[in-house]
Amino acid sequence: MLEDLLLILFAAAAVAGAVLMLLLRHPMRVALALIATMISLGGIYGLLGVHVIAVFQIMIYVGAVMVFMVYAIMLLDVRDPSFTERYSRLLWPGVAACTVLAGVLVGAAWQGKIPLFKGPGDSFGVQPFSAAFLNDYWLYFELTSVLLVVAVLAAVAVVQLRSTRRG
């Protein structure tokens, strides 16, 4: 009972954060709304019983991705035309298209063309998670580290850091 209530609460918070993302003007506030959404999602994961994922959600998404984003927002001067004019010229066409898309999907789901499952689920903890990674999926684990190194290199190359030492 409590679990269901918490689930609805977290879900509502996530959706609210998402809606606020569309409405707020200042990018920093938009970032904070997104952080709120992500934390709510983390809560949902926890309620589902996948604690590993919930922790990773907070650590990686909020702790790394959003921090980086906030940093970038603070770096750049945001008082430019995009601040005064929040919405692009395609506001109403965009809203219309996406509403139609959503409506089509909802309608299809309602009529049963898209199967939505029912039933309970299982939870799994850290131990089976790490065992799987280190036994069966160790290759992909290593590949992720390669991917991260490549990302760092690419970021450096993109920004074109130069050595400032002379003489």
């Binding site: 999602l41 990773f56 750049l76 996406c98 039933g119 992720t144 990302a151």
Partner: protein, 100 residues
């Protein structure tokens, strides 16, 4: 409706809102954040299905998606920084070099 269905609806809503935001918002960084929101929505549906399936492979895949999202943002923000360095504005309407 039960938990799984409910979470799938939430995932759909989050994804749609992210999509709308990508089209309507002008600020480049806000557009990036909307893309993150879309990714999160999809992630939620993946986690829901994974948890239902019971095997650990689902969790493995979610973890890999986290990594990819992180690297993606690591590249995307420097690109935006570079663009802004040249054109000195975050307005997406100013970047029309793909024209024609």
């Amino acid at each position: 409706m039960d938990k799984t269905q409910f979470l799938l609806w939430v995932s759909l809503v989050l994804f749609s809102i992210g999509l709308v935001g990508l089209i309507v918002r002008r600020n480049l960084l806000v557009m990036l954040m909307c893309m993150e929101l879309m990714l999160n929505g999809v992630n939620l549906s993946l986690v829901t299905f994974a948890q239902r399936g019971g095997s650990v492979e689902g969790a493995v895949m979610v973890f890999l998606i986290f990594i990819v999202a992180a690297s993606e943002i690591a590249i995307a923000i420097p690109i935006v920084l570079l663009l802004v360095r040249h054109r000195l504005t975050l307005d997406a309407g100013a970047y029309t070099d793909l024209k024609g």
